[in-house]
């Protein structure tokens, strides 16, 4: 546990050495205008009182010229975290240091520092984006998932008489913004589970804690599992049996081919939020969870794994594949490590890409148990022309046909609007184990 305050933390951060470009301040320019125009009028109109009028301005400029102006500064930038979720309140601590200057001058210059933050895309400042002082804290919220640049920070230092301003700009670090996970508490469990220790009660008897039945005692059974009331009733020793507890492999398949809908609630937004929620829910039940991100026939994948860190690895993998084209392997050549046999495949897709639908059919025919979560929330725009209305109807019928054909193959398709909990559309499949068809 750390007891460091924000100021101490930012002072410990690695600094960036920046060159200051000094130029006259607005105040100096105004004084210069007054001085030069006063002298000009005095010469033109031959009136010495205007030379006297120009004197204070010119004296201030002349005396201010000898002020010390450091050529370089060190700026320390420290975000509260390099990773965050959509809508999370985060902070950015910045501090300026002047190397190799006298203590007093240094403090004076640092106190005159003025910071202006230009936030990057989808980064919303909370409160002011400009502040003054040697150490400043800006607060912000990342508005949408993705790898986001925090923006740039302008720092302005003024000399002692405020006649010159030193400007420098520092580029701020990158932030990995994770999609805010949806809510999912229940889980879809396969009927046939691999022979691996876990938390889901299986159909076979074993050493679990869920009661499954009573049978006659055979030598070798534990004495503490004897069911005495049943033994008394039947006149023979009876023992309790329990269901074995197994874990399953879950592969989340996110379709990143088409991103339709309003930014923030688009199909890709919903797919990532849903996948993040599913990853949390299944890793919470000690299942091995992996992810495949499908893009235009290609795929990037992460082999199933256990634990909380796997959730972040999964989201990182999905963010890394957000580049507009597939960089990973071809989907048809995915290794067994990416798609283990007998795994439950949870698909998040708007089902708009015909090749992806064909891929799902192919997977089904290869014997994978799949569940499709339809994340399409947009439709073609409604227009008055009959041709447009007809096109809209045909589009709807096509979509219904795609879903129908998947259901006919034994692939359940449920629709999720991104607002409600994922438990609601999945309720029909979480109440009892899901049949693994072959």
């Amino acid at each position: 546990m750390s007891f460091m305050g924000p100021n101490e933390r930012v002072l410990r951060a690695t600094g960036t050495d920046l060159a200051l470009s000094w130029r006259s301040s607005r105040h100096a320019r105004r004084l210069l205008t007054m001085g030069l125009f006063g002298v000009f009028i005095a010469t033109l109109a031959r009136r010495p009182e205007f030379a006297g009028l120009a004197a204070p301005a010119l004296l201030l400029l002349a005396a201010g010229r000898v002020q010390r102006r450091p050529p370089r500064i060190t700026v320390r930038v420290r975000p509260s975290s390099r990773r965050g979720f959509e809508g999370e309140l985060m902070a950015l601590d910045v501090a300026v240091d002047i190397p190799g200057e006298g203590q007093d001058d240094c403090a004076l210059l640092q106190n005159s520092a003025r910071w202006t933050w230009h936030p990057g895309r989808e980064i919303a400042p909370v409160g002011a984006a400009a502040a003054g002082g040697p150490q400043v804290r800006f607060t912000f919220t990342p508005e949408r998932w993705g790898r986001r640049q925090l923006g740039t920070l302008d720092v302005v230092l003024r000399d002692r008489w405020r006649l010159a301003e030193g400007h420098a700009t520092v580029a701020l670090p990158r932030l990995d913004c994770y999609p805010a996970p949806a809510q999912q508490r229940t889980r879809v469990v396969l009927r046939r589970l691999p022979n691996r220790l876990g938390e889901h009660p299986a159909r076979v008897s074993g050493e679990g804690i869920e009661f499954s039945g009573v049978r006659e005692y055979v030598p070798g059974d534990r004495q503490r599992s004897i069911n005495w009331p049943a033994s008394t009733r039947r006149g023979r020793l009876q023992v309790n049996t329990f269901a074995a507890e197994r874990s399953q492999d879950v592969v989340l398949l996110a379709d990143a081919t088409s991103d339709v809908g309003e930014p923030g609630t688009s199909a890709l937004d919903l797919a990532l939020r849903g996948a993040a929620a599913a990853a949390r829910a299944y890793t919470g039940a000690r299942d091995r969870v992996g992810v495949i991100t499908y893009q235009w026939g290609g795929a990037s994948w992460l082999a199933p794994g256990l634990g909380k860190r796997q959730v972040y690895r999964i989201i990182d993998s999905m963010l890394a594949s957000d580049s507009g084209w597939a960089r990973g392997a071809s989907f048809r050549r995915l290794p067994r490590a990416a798609l283990p046999p007998g795994a439950l495949v949870v698909v998040f897709s708007p089902l708009l890409d015909q090749r992806f639908v064909e891929t799902l059919r192919d997977m089904r025919e290869r014997g994978f148990t799949m569940l499709v979560i339809d994340v399409l929330t947009a439709e073609p725009p409604a227009r008055r022309r009959s041709v447009d209305r007809m096109a809209r109807r045909i589009w709807r019928m096509e979509q219904e046909a795609i879903r129908f054909s998947l259901r006919e193959l034994g692939v359940p398709v449920v629709h999720w609007d991104g607002v409600q909990s994922l438990d609601l559309p999945l309720a029909g499949y979480t109440r009892r184990p899901m049949a693994a068809w072959r």
Binding site: M34, A51, G52, P56, A62, W161
Partner: protein
């Protein structure tokens, strides 16, 4: 997402008002008594406009401009253009030039010009404090230089009030050269004084 428009704190409002009042005082001082020759009317208009726009710039300095200006409503775009123009143009410099020109149009009145010079310096310092948000304490190190400037201002006014040695242009030029030499000498000496005193 709606965000609260930042407001000026109380002392910033006071500084802004002080700058505006000093500017208005300078314009009034330079304009009275009213002259009806040359470009006096235009100079007066420009001086009033410059001081008013400069004060408005200071008052609206805390209003933020959005980073992303795409697809904004027309009214908001017009407002942003107005803010941009207000912040870009050096209104105070324009007001200064107009006020000095207004003063030139009057017949010679050295003590009046000296008071105007002091008021203009005060106006510029008040404007600087209002736009930088600094406290008046930051001007303390400049007190000696300002005092020397005030002395030179008084000397300039006194030189203007002295009768010319002769009626020709040579006499006026001599007085002007003396004033310039005095300013230059002070300019050469004062930086060293300022450095020695650590001010």
């Amino acid at each position: 997402m709606t965000r609260a428009v930042p407001r000026l704190p109380g002392d910033a409002v006071a500084r802004c008002a002080a700058a505006g009042l000093l500017g208005a005082g300078c314009v009034t001082w330079a304009a009275v008594p009213q002259v009806h020759r040359g470009t006096a009317g235009l100079a007066l208009f420009l001086a009033i406009f410059g001081v008013a726009a400069g004060t408005l710039r200071l008052a609206l300095s805390a209003v933020p401009a959005p980073e992303d200006s795409y697809l904004l409503p027309a009214a908001l775009r017009v407002w942003l253009r107005f803010l941009e123009a207000l912040r870009l143009v050096p209104w105070e410099e324009g007001a200064l030039l107009a006020v000095l020109w207004l003063e030139v149009l009057h017949p010679s009145r050295p003590w009046h010009t000296a008071v105007l010079g002091a008021a203009l310096i005060a106006y510029l310092l008040a404007t600087h404090l209002a736009e930088s948000g600094a406290s008046p304490g930051v001007l303390r190190p400049q007190a000696r230089v300002l005092a020397a400037g005030a002395a030179l201002l008084a000397l300039g006014a006194a030189a203007g009030m002295l009768p010319a040695a002769g009626p020709g242009a040579g006499s006026a030029l001599q007085r002007l050269a003396a004033a310039a030499a005095r300013n230059a000498a002070a300019g050469r000496v004062l930086p060293h004084v300022a450095r020695d005193n650590g001010s």
